[in-house]
Symmetry: C2
Subunit: 261 residues, 2 copies
């Protein structure tokens, strides 16, 4: 599982404060610890910490890069903030995220290709977030065909079918599993699948349990990547065990340790 | 998830001793505690505890029935031991198990129909345990068509696609998930799917972790039932959470508690 670590986000108080005070040590500490905990990408989101999001994003990226070489996932809904981040990124990078309207895809995909970046594309279009299986798969198919048109290789494309909280509509988690299986059949090789995991458990009484059980079920249905809390050791153990059971890593008696080396 | 509790089995020392000494209290205590822990069936296996397995099975069944009304899964490879158990079973009952050779199915299925019993049929035939996807699904299709021929309804049929230990052949767990999805498409309504869960982790260093992660992935792929250790609270929590995420039980903040009531 490609773990995209969620913690460097201006929505968290310590990160917000660090951005405002330009306290790089806080960010660097999170960057190092998340990397040690198994992060393959460090999500990097300014949130509401700064009026000038572009320079705040650049400061965040530079703070992270001076501590670790872990790839960064530039997380913003504004393309100018993404572009500002791309301008200073030295290593492998992910753009998180764009919607699936054609004009959006026509802007973000060439940008991703130009920077050899991965791109997270949400199955959201002008009509909003689809609540059913078929529309999500249709939008995913649009994303895939646009990627082919723009020369974005499938191993750089991450489709996010949009998790909704289980306590809002209990049919949605199973729909998501079915969407994932179908998206994996759209082409060969298929695109990656990614989710923002913690949304599944919003407002519930058992957030960690629900997060990790859905993660495992989704991995069985084809999920490759998730934006999540890499400090949740039990969940990371479950994800590693899923990878091992799906034959993505070799079993040894110390497979949990081996996966973290 | 239909939990078939594995503990009343002569392979365990305390149960073996209880059978030999006709100490019903030990068996009844296990029957009560497994029922409280969420067992929907109590597996009942004489093991090597007695030379006369038929009368030992009858003693076990009667001991259990005097303590709880939980349905019993009569577990033996010998049809005469199954028949002895059926003769004294008062409640709903499961026959565990038969192989998929035609002559076997032609013996066990009428027996199940006659006693209104559920039947576990293994995807094993005269050629042995298949190691690939297609042969397992082919054998499952034979089982399903035989059930239709004998008038055994699909909700009484439990197909066991045979788990092999992950450290023997790491391709097998994912094969199993694919088999499960395909078996669920064989007919509508489909047969139940069951596994003897602990086999997945035989000889590994992380038995409980591997058991519960595979259980969750398998439930996402259509697994309905498993023979397992209902005293493993973490695993039972995961199974309940899977049921909730698959919309098989209603979410409430106390869903873990509600599932155990």
């Amino acid at each position: 599982m490609i773990a995209v670590a969620e913690r460097i986000n201006g929505m968290f108080k310590d990160v917000k404060k660090a951005i405002q005070k330009k306290d790089a040590a806080v960010i660097q500490d999170l960057a190092r610890k998340q990397t040690e905990a198994g992060a393959k990408f460090l999500d990097c989101n300014v949130g509401t910490a700064a009026a000038d999001q572009q320079s705040a994003m650049q400061w965040l990226v530079e703070a992270i890069q001076s501590a670790v070489k872990t790839p960064i996932a530039l997380d913003s809904q504004k393309i100018d903030v993404i572009k500002a981040g791309l301008a200073v990124c030295k290593n492998e990078v992910m753009i998180n995220s764009c919607k699936a309207d054609e004009d959006q895809l026509d802007k973000y995909m060439p940008l991703a290709v130009q920077h050899n970046a991965s791109l997270v594309a949400l199955t959201i279009n002008a009509q909003g977030v689809p609540q059913n299986i078929d529309t999500r798969v249709e939008i995913a198919a649009t994303i895939v065909s646009k990627a082919m048109e723009h020369g974005l290789p499938m191993d750089k494309l991450y489709i996010d079918p949009i998790i909704l909280p289980v306590n809002c509509d209990q049919k949605q988690p199973d729909y998501l599993l079915q969407v994932m299986r179908q998206v994996k059949l759209l082409c060969d090789p298929p695109p990656h699948l990614i989710v923002g995991l913690s949304n599944i458990s919003q407002g519930t009484s058992q957030r960690e349990l629900i997060n990790r059980v859905f993660l495992v079920m989704a991995m069985g249905a084809g999920l490759d990547a998730a934006i999540l809390d890499v400090f949740d050791t039990e969940m990371m153990d479950d994800a590693i065990t899923s990878d091992m059971l799906l034959n993505r890593m070799i079993y040894s008696d110390s497979f949990l340790k081996a996966a973290r080396m």
